[in-house]
């Protein structure tokens, strides 16, 4: 796996917020009946996190579980661990109608750090960023691409998009975070 690189290999921009590509992040799409105990168990085994409710993201010892749709979760784990997590979850859910796929490399992940991290995203996304709190996950768009974001803490937003548009997303966030662009709401 030494050959593995993320789309922008940790690109960094410092404006009135800092924008950094988060490097390789393990991500797994899990589709299934989210009310099933077996799936809750598989999520717990994979991440240590509880089953998230609608619009929520939970955190455990090994990762996070985000609610993406009524039948879809996003599991965030170590990049290197992702294939094994897929294997284990597939095995434990063999009798359950479900789909578990590794999408780690289909994505790019960015951290927007700073007191105004919500404001930077609000320049690009129609979501109400002011109501976002740690523990919430929002699927939305930034400018012309689909994206999702959540807050790690009050000053760190994590934004996920497709890998092929990583450069566009980074340029967008950097432009929004450029000094002089402070809105101050």
């Amino acid at each position: 796996m030494s050959n593995a690189v993320s789309a922008l290999q940790g690109a960094l921009y410092k404006g009135y917020c800092t924008v950094e590509e988060a490097g390789l992040v393990g991500m797994i799409t899990l589709r299934g009946d989210l009310s099933s105990d077996a799936i809750a168990k598989a999520v717990k085994a994979a991440t240590g996190a509880e089953m998230p409710g609608q619009g929520k993201i939970t955190e455990g010892a090994k990762g996070r579980a985000g609610w993406m749709s009524p039948d879809e979760l996003l599991l965030i784990v170590d990049h290197a661990a992702a294939p094994k997590v897929v294997e284990a979850a597939s095995k434990s859910l063999a009798d359950e109608h479900s789909l578990i796929v590794n999408v780690s490399d289909a994505r790019a992940v960015f951290r927007v750090k700073g007191a105004a991290c919500r404001e930077v995203i609000a320049k690009l996304s129609p979501a109400d960023t002011a109501v976002m709190q740690p523990g919430m996950l929002r699927r939305t768009r930034v400018a012309q691409i689909p994206a999702a974001f959540y807050l790690e803490d009050d000053q760190t937003a994590v934004l996920v998009c497709f890998r092929s548009v990583a450069q566009y997303a980074f340029d967008l966030l950097a432009d929004a975070a450029r000094d002089g662009g402070e809105v101050g709401v």
């Binding site: 690189v5 589709r31 796929v101 780690s104 320049k123 450069q167």
Partner: protein, 1005 residues
């Protein structure tokens, strides 16, 4: 002449002078000035020329309603035409030039139109340009193009940056005058989240100019105290320099924030477009004063009375030493009193009403000002500036009884509420006879999804005309909005002012009321577009009844100011000419934006690199570094070919084809769509999505499949692999991945919601490389790992394993006719894998190839391409793909449609190969013709070229096309007329579309 007064000017700081230039002339103003105030302070009364007659134009207003004073602003990358000087803040180093004149503002040749004005009435263009047709191209259009327009078109790219900002709020208050502040106070006190926006850089609107007392304080003191209270509320956001541009469905509103117009070059975004979702919107947008229609009302120096007052009080600027005030209402008396107090002369107040005894009139008389009632202006004297007025009786035809010298005229025809934002989303108006204006009808407000009102007006925008009424209306509006948005009821009382006694205004639409044609031809309604009272009357005589038609015929209200001053006066004239009451005529439609907003603000960040997202594969940078010529495929950029130094793209493509056929080629196929379909019902689902049978595909095997729309048309194709008992992997076209994924989800979510199938789009998870050519196996064997021999991995099979150190899934599939492996590795390792293949393949003659090489190779093999052989009207049967349409299956998407008579018509054009008799390349899209003409007189057409290339392998042109009865006409020669003007035809013979290796021996080794 206009000048800066020695004292006064509540908005300027005289210790901070600002230098600027107008038409190259150095001028000086002060911090806090608008450009209009600074120009007037320097006696620049003439600021431009009108659109049609090139009449001299001066500043007429003091705010957003200004029709005349537009200038070319800035230079180079900051040049922008048609900027209103009344809404432009002065800054040091500002440069501007006047518009629409040649050679100079003072001496303009175009003014000849003015003398020909009698020949250029309303509808002149429509009447003149009817015929003859060639005259339009050769005579009219060149002339109009030369004379049209106001400012110049920028010649350099905009150097500033712009951005959007999304904001959600309970209550949005548009307007920061005392009404807006009172409404914000009510809403803020309720605990609702409030955003207040004010288009100028100062709060309070015109209340401080007009005077009065609020809660026992001066308006200025009350504004300061109120702002302090609002700033202390966490739930209230205050923004200046931000205009409410538009109100749309569902509480959506646009705010146009001019962040850095007054500080150019400071690296802040110039404009920020706020895209706001509000539960409730309060429009506290004030009112606009109406001009009066008298002869010569457009001469520089004739201004709105309120503007004259604003310039004196706000900026310490006198518009003239001697100002005649002409009015039909009490409010204009305030202007006379302000001027008198500033030590200026008001020779007379002409009041068109037949008596005048309100408190303001009495105060004017007490100040020693001569007041003439029942009097009017017969005409204004002067050319480029006012020199005097002739006065007459309002009731008569305009015989002058007295000439009075003056250098300014302050006019007031009453006030119209700014109803634009209320009206944008469907708010209706009612005619107020007492005030002679349209005002919002609170019973017919714009309504949201729940049928409830989401806009409420406040203050003068509601039609409240006294300070006391404005405050009580606005506070109530704020309370109402906050309550509707879910806020708590507010107990605390709102601000109050004492009621004032006023004498009712009298509607005056023409001055004097019996003015003859000569005078009416000099009464301007629309200053910018040169529409006069006589033009509207002419339109009515010519049969125009609808106000919307009259607007377009006369161009009334069609200028950049959208008729803020002219609309009501114009439709009053039209109503009079049609002999009907004004409300029967109605208004034209109010559309956003309220005043023009910049294209930059609309575009936001979407410029340059951010214009559009470009999708990049993990190997993208390698392609760029290799100098690949890239082409767009959907949002992807893919290498078309990799030209070497000294090579043309065409030569590069030919080299790539031959090298791949003879040695080894690599294609970055990562853009191919990859969808995983899994579940107990996945086989059933796959059989519905594809025309051929997919449920019986054995695990470990691949099958080429076709997908059709429900109307039977071929929409996508690709190779499907069976991964395990209930999992399939579908390859789609590069451009089709997202669409096909959505297509599958739609059927699963809306039609077959009870089928147990999940789909995931893993297109970007995998980098995919096609290793193609006779040496393909040698390269993979060199790298080691899994067995890729013919026996271990036969044609149309796939296997998971290692290629070298890489985890890979290898498909033995071929789109080129060569021995070919498509290898998928995790995208994070795609670049490393690509590098490894190139390095290890060197000894086997490896070269990367691009999309054009791919196209040629597939055409040589007769493989179709979605988008070339298909165009949304082609069914698989047209392409001879019947073998891929299952006859066993009960159903699949498109099956029924393909049984329709038109779809099974034997006359449908069908796919064949085409080879020119002389070996040349057929033009793409060329049509095959036969003798005779169709019902439209067109040559009969019997086919067209869908793909055409020079084949470097076969050393001749090859093509595919759809031809009527084509497969039954093998060997026939068709004629393809050229469209290059040579009037020649190319002859091509119908042949098998498979030009190369018909038996597939090369790929099956």
């Amino acid at each position: 002449m206009s000048t800066r007064l020695a004292k006064g000017g509540r908005l300027i700081d005289r210790t901070k002078p600002k230098n600027f230039t107008f038409n190259g002339k150095r001028m000086k103003g002060y911090d806090g000035d608008t450009l209009a105030a600074a120009l007037l302070g320097e006696d620049q009364m003439l600021v431009g020329r009108s659109f049609k007659y090139h009449r001299p134009r001066g500043i007429v207003a003091s705010g957003a309603e200004e029709p005349n004073a537009l200038v070319n602003m800035g230079q180079g990358g900051r040049f922008e035409p048609n900027q209103r000087v009344t809404t432009t803040e002065l800054f040091d180093g500002l440069t501007c030039t006047s518009q629409n004149h040649w050679p100079s503002l003072e001496f303009d040749v175009g003014v000849v139109n003015n003398y020909a004005a009698r020949f250029l009435p309303a509808g002149f263009y429509y009447k003149t340009f009817m015929a003859p047709a060639p005259a339009w191209k050769h005579v009219f259009e060149p002339i109009i193009r030369k004379s049209a327009g106001l400012g110049k078109v920028p010649t350099e790219a905009d150097v500033d940056r712009y951005e959007h900002f999304y904001h959600h709020t309970d209550v949005l208050v548009i307007g920061g005058g005392v009404a807006g502040l009172a409404a914000a106070l009510a809403a803020g006190r309720s605990g609702a989240k409030v955003l207040v926006m004010e288009q100028t850089h100062h709060w309070g609107g015109r209340a401080p100019v007009d005077g009065g007392e609020i809660d026992g304080q001066t308006p200025d003191d009350w504004i300061t105290a109120t702002l302090a209270e609002l700033e202390g509320m966490d739930n209230v956001t205050l923004r200046t320099r931000m205009m409410g541009a538009g109100v749309y469905d569902h509480g959506y509103a646009l705010g146009y924030e001019r962040v850095a117009d007054h500080t150019p070059g400071d690296d802040r975004p110039r404009h920020r477009l706020w895209r706001i979702r509000a539960k409730q919107i309060v429009t506290a947008t004030g009112a606009i004063e109406r001009p009066l229609s008298f002869a010569g009302n457009d001469i520089p120096g004739v201004m709105l009375a309120s503007a004259v007052r604003d310039y004196a009080v706000n900026w310490g600027v006198s518009v003239g030493d001697r100002t005649v005030v002409v009015t039909n209402n009490d409010d204009a008396y305030r202007t006379a009193l302000v001027l008198k107090e500033a030590g200026l002369d008001v020779p007379v107040i002409l009041d068109a009403r037949d008596h005048s005894n309100g408190p303001l009139a009495e105060a004017a008389r007490a100040a020693g000002i001569r007041v003439e009632v029942g009097k009017a202006i017969a005409k204004v004297n002067g050319g480029k500036r006012v020199t005097g007025v002739s006065i007459c009786s309002q009731a008569g035809e305009g015989s002058a009884v007295e000439d009075i010298a003056c250098d300014a005229v302050a006019m007031s025809g009453g006030w119209s509420p700014v109803v634009h934002l209320w009206s944008h989303c469907g708010g209706k108006l009612i005619w107020d006879d007492k005030q002679s204006h349209f005002r919002p009808d609170p019973d017919r407000a714009p309504t949201g999804h729940d049928g409830q009102s989401f806009v409420v007006t406040a203050g003068a925008a509601s039609g409240a005309m006294s300070l006391a009424d404005v405050l009580s209306d606005a506070y109530a509006a704020g309370q109402q909005a906050a309550k509707a948005a879910g806020g708590k009821a507010v107990r605390k009382a709102g601000p109050k002012a004492d009621p004032e006694a006023t004498q009712p205004m009298a509607p005056v639409w023409i001055m004097p009321q019996g003015a003859g044609h000569q005078k009416r031809m000099k009464m301007w309604l629309d200053y910018q577009n040169d529409v006069k009272v006589s033009d509207v009357q002419l339109a009515a005589r010519e049969g125009y009844e609808s106000v919307e038609h009259t607007k377009r015929y006369t161009t009334l209200g069609m200028a950049t100011d959208q008729g803020k001053l002219s609309n009501i006066n114009g439709l009053a004239i039209l109503s009079d000419a049609l002999g009907q009451p004004i409300p029967a005529t109605g208004t034209t439609t109010f559309r956003p934006p309220y005043t023009p907003i910049s294209f930059g603000a609309i575009v936001g960040e979407a410029r340059h690199e951010l214009f559009q997202p470009i999708r990049r594969t993990p190997m993208h940078k390698w392609h760029e570094d290799a100098g690949a010529y890239m082409e767009p495929v959907g949002h992807w950029r893919r290498p078309y070919c990799y030209a070497k130094p000294g090579e043309t793209n065409e030569q590069a493509v030919h080299r790539e084809v031959l090298n791949t056929r003879e040695k080894l080629g690599l294609l970055d196929a990562s853009t191919l769509g990859k969808l995983i379909v899994k579940g107990p019902d996945a086989g059933k689902f796959m059989d519905m999505m594809y025309t051929n049978m997919m449920s019986n595909l054995a695990v470990g095997k691949c099958r080429y499949g076709l997908m059709c729309s429900e109307n039977g048309f071929l929409s996508d194709d690709g190779v499907v692999a069976r991964i395990d008992e209930d999992t399939w992997l579908c390859h789609t076209t590069s451009g089709g991945a997202d669409h096909i994924y959505a297509w599958m989800e739609e059927w699963l979510q809306t039609e077959w919601w009870d089928w147990k199938v999940y789909v995931a789009n893993v297109t970007e998870q995998l980098a995919q490389v096609a290793v193609v050519g006779p040496n393909a196996r040698k390269l993979l064997e060199k790298l080691g790992g899994m067995d890729v021999s013919k026996d271990a991995l036969a044609f149309m099979q796939w296997k998971d394993g290692k290629i070298g150190e890489f985890d890979a899934r290898v498909y033995r599939i071929s789109f080129s006719g060569e021995l070919s492996y498509e290898i998928a590795v995790p995208a994070s390792q795609g670049r490393a894998f690509w590098d490894k293949l190139l390095e290890a393949g060197e000894e086997f003659g490896v070269m990367p190839y691009g999309t054009e090489c791919l196209h040629i190779m597939r055409a040589e093999k007769g493989f179709i391409m979605i988008g070339d052989e298909t165009d949304g009207t082609v069914i698989p049967q047209d392409l001879g793909l019947n073998w891929a349409i299952s006859k066993k299956k009960e159903d699949f998407l498109g099956k029924r449609a393909q049984q329709r008579s038109h779809m099974s018509d034997p006359d449908r054009w069908k796919l064949v190969g085409l080879e020119t008799l002389d070996g040349s390349v057929l033009p793409d899209g060329a049509y095959a013709v036969e003798d005779g003409e169709n019902q439209y007189g067109h040559r009969n057409m019997i086919g067209r070229v869908t793909s055409t290339y020079y084949s470097p392998t076969l050393k001749k042109g090859i093509a595919m096309g759809l031809v009527k009865h084509g497969p039954d006409r093998m060997g026939d020669v068709l004629s393809f007329p050229t469209v290059d003007g040579s009037n020649t035809e190319i002859k091509a013979r119908i042949c098998d579309p498979v030009f190369f290796d018909k038996d597939g021996e090369k790929q099956n080794v």
